[in-house]
Amino acid sequence: MGLAFFVVLVLITAVSVYIFGAHIWWPPHAISTIGPSVDHQFNLTLILTGIIFVCAQLGLGYFAWKYRDRKDGRKVIYSHGNNKLEAGWTIAAAVVFIGLNLIGFQIWAKMYFTPAPPDALQIQVQGQQFAYYFRYPGPDGKFGPTHVEKVDDATGNFFGLDRDHDQDSKDDIVTATLGVPVNRPVELILRSKDVGHSFFVRELRIHQDLVPGIEIPIHFTATETGRFEIVCTQLCGLGHYKMRAFLQVMTEEDYQKWLQSQMAAQ
């Protein structure tokens, strides 16, 4: 029975380590400036916990095997513990865990403590059951005010703009795809129309809930062009699973063209 334990634990450990090590399933290539540092922290954590995982599982299996009762009259080691040893691994664990976290905090600080650079492109993101809409301020660089009572999905007024009266709203562009230029800082202002949603783009390593009632800013700079999925990760009702949109990262030129075409379509 002890041997069986050892074998099973070795197998489980080996398979898990192999699958993680061989990157059979792996996060997609990161396309934001913050991405590589997140990946680095992830790998560091994976290696550290991986070592602990292997040692603990194999140790467990090995002990189960080695110290099985062989009915040979061997005496057990009568020990109530060893304070030095226990203090040792307590301190080791504390240093490893806390240290790991302190190393990583600067990434978090970069994501959330430092505000977006002043020249960042501002875009509003609205989540609603079960779609995203994006609003660009237009040439005047200003978002017009929103009016709850004007919101009407049927006419495409998702944000509740009053284009007839509000000067700032006149040139606002509302789209269903998030188009951004590459290599330019972007600040998203996240809001929700009804219940909680979330904004997650795997490739950006950016993930933030859309909270009803408040507007949450996040910022990123994409470093590669391409089309990426935005998914909703906050349970928002029966269509949660199909709530998604696309992020289109474009060259500056393409972006301007795209913006023009969207403006024309308003």
Partner: protein, 591 residues
């Protein structure tokens, strides 16, 4: 022998009428079994729900004959709708967390064995004890009734986040009466748990028999005690949260609902609240709750590993203190569920540090379990197998917590199957393994008969391998970004993962099926098992000094006196390899 209490001066003779003996019994042993069977019933329901979920995930168009009878709207013609998936998921999570993991390990085994292990004849408040069970029972009935109301069970998950859970039926199916009943059920459950918790605390503090110093308590008792403290302090907050959520739903208040929401084209008549407030209150309870689920399992595991390694637990004091440390820290970390919720990013800092700190007492426990096995003479009974399995699963699940605890990694992992994998490893199986271990270990005491060991071992190996097959792959696809709470996979990058889901579904069906080995073993052994002796495992704690099953007042009017710690196995220079706690013989090196 002094009794530090007035209420256990209840009848010193057992009631004879069926209703008082088995239904409204005041005997902690009967109540313990009632809780145990309540949990067993719930876990079977929860498991069947998980089957349905797994089936829907990979075969969304599968026709399940008969399901439409249970739920004509949720499964028209036997084919589950996507929203019915969410209903199943909500009830699966709620049942498993509240009615399985908060009942059996604590209120079930705890009720049965805490008084016996500390040498008392009953809990401190038998009447309250009965009340807590029946309160819990009512809560379960209210929860299950959501299956039969017209709009079905709620779809907002076991966390029930508003505004989805607060704005009523316009937010989606199940958000009408179903969600209201859910809130009521949880509020009732809180009351039952609070009463139970204060009973456990008073019992542990007041009713220890002579010589049962705190540092001689079996680690199971320590675990139940710390768990009860967590329950007392955290369920009170959940109760408040439920009360406010209920008011938001039926009273028109807006504690958790901000202004200007438009749900299903209707402007909501609310303003001024914040969903974040609910999340704080919920997780203030929610995180201690997950330790409520696991601590009793840790206690049982320690108890059993020492017994079957035939040597003292390694570092008894460290084990007791680390339980307390985990309990204390569990109130300082709840924000790790909210890193990306819009919470102040500065709070995330402190929550994260404390969360990592919980790894330290957990590491102590893990190493001390290994230290206990080291140099032992391990007997592989079913109980021991499940305990060793517990350690393996706890390490696997705990280590994924180290990823999630870092806010900088949370953007990759939050709300993915990595989280689902994490909590099923620690809670869905490690804690359940604690219950299995407890069952195989204490069954002889509770029912006076042995369980079948061969089938126990078959059950262990199939379950152990099965759950690794179900939940290990969730880590892999989680890292790649598989989102939880999705009923179907329509995103481009999720579709290629479907084969993995198929594998997990098959593994889940298999693992679920082998649980029937366990269930049959339990019920068969109850009536047909081999008769058990008083001390079949050669254990040292007080439950092994009384007959199997114990008489009505446990010690037949006598009061044991305790001379030793609970884990005196393999004592050198003795003819038997263990010294019972109530044995007056001297041991060198005794604490």
């Amino acid at each position: 022998m002094p009794e530090a209490h007035a209420e256990t001066a209840h009848q010193h003779h057992a009631p004879t009428k069926f209703i008082w003996k088995y239904i409204f019994s005041l005997d902690h042993k009967v109540i313990g079994k009632q809780y145990y069977f309540l949990a067993l019933f719930s876990v079977v329901v929860g498991m069947i729900l998980s089957w349905l979920m797994r089936i829907h995930l990979v075969w969304p168009n599968a026709k399940l004959y008969g399901l439409d009878l249970l739920s004509p709207a949720g499964a028209p013609g036997g084919v589950m709708t996507p929203e019915y998936y969410l209903s199943l998921m909500t009830l699966h999570g709620t049942i498993m967390i509240f009615f399985v993991l908060t009942t059996a390990p604590q209120s079930g085994f705890g009720n049965y064995f805490l008084p016996i292990q500390i040498g008392a004849e009953d809990m401190a408040f038998p009447r309250l004890n009965m009340l807590s069970f029946w309160t819990t029972f009512v809560a379960l009935m209210v929860l299950l009734s959501t299956f039969f109301v017209t709009d079905g069970p709620p779809i907002s998950g076991w966390t029930g986040y508003p505004p989805l859970s607060a704005v009523g039926s316009s937010a989606g199916p199940g958000e009408g009466l179903g969600q209201t009943l859910w809130v009521i059920s949880i509020a009732i459950f809180c009351i039952g748990s609070l009463l139970g918790a204060l009973n456990f605390i008073a019992t542990t503090l007041d009713l220890r028999t002579k010589g049962m110093k705190l540092m001689r308590l079996p680690l199971t008792c320590w675990a139940w005690f710390v768990t009860a403290v967590l329950g007392l302090l955290s369920f009170a907050v959940l109760f408040g949260a439920c009360a406010l959520l209920l008011l938001d739903r039926v009273g028109g208040t807006s504690f958790f609902i901000p202004g200007g929401l438009i749900v299903s084209d209707k402007i909501m008549p609310h303003s001024g609240g914040s969903p974040l407030l609910y999340q704080h209150l919920f997780w203030f309870f929610g995180h201690p709750e997950v330790y409520i689920a696991i601590l009793p399992g840790m206690g049982v595991t320690s108890h059993i590993i020492s017994c079957f390694a035939r040597k003292p637990i390694f570092g008894y004091r460290a084990m007791a203190y680390s339980l307390m440390a985990i309990g204390f820290l569990s109130f300082t970390v709840w924000g790790h569920h909210m890193f990306l919720s819009g919470m102040s990013p500065y709070s995330a800092f402190s929550f994260s540090l404390f969360t990592m700190a919980i790894g330290v007492p957990s590491a102590i426990k893990t190493f001390n379990w290994l230290g206990t096995l080291w140099g032992g003479k391990i007997r592989f009974t079913s109980a021991m197998l499940f305990s060793i399995g517990f350690v393996s699963l706890f390490v696997t699940g705990g280590l994924s917590g180290i990823f999630l605890a870092q806010p900088q990694l949370d953007p990759m992992l939050h709300a993915t199957y990595f989280v689902v994998a994490h909590f099923h490893m620690v809670m869905g199986v490690a804690a359940i393994f604690g219950m299995f271990a407890g069952t195989y270990f204490w069954f002889p005491k509770m029912f006076g008969r042995m369980m079948n060991e061969t089938w126990g071992k078959v059950h262990f190996w199939t379950t152990f391998i099965g759950v690794y097959c179900v939940f290990m792959p969730m880590h892999f696809i989680g890292v790649e970004g598989a989102i939880r709470r999705y009923s179907t996979w329509t995103d481009n990058y999720l579709i290629p993962m479907i084969p993995v889901h198929e594998f997990m579904t098959i593994a889940a069906l298999f693992t679920g099926a082998v649980q029937f080995i366990f269930l049959i073993n339990v019920f068969w052994s109850m009536f047909k098992g081999e008769k058990a002796t008083d001390n079949p495992w050669k254990g040292t704690s007080l439950e092994w000094t009384v007959p199997s099953p114990p008489p009505f007042d446990n010690f037949a009017g006598k009061h044991p006196v305790v001379y030793h710690g609970p884990y005196e196995y393999g004592v050198p220079g003795k003819d038997k390899d263990y010294v019972m706690q109530d044995s007056p013989e001297k041991i060198e090196d005794d604490e």
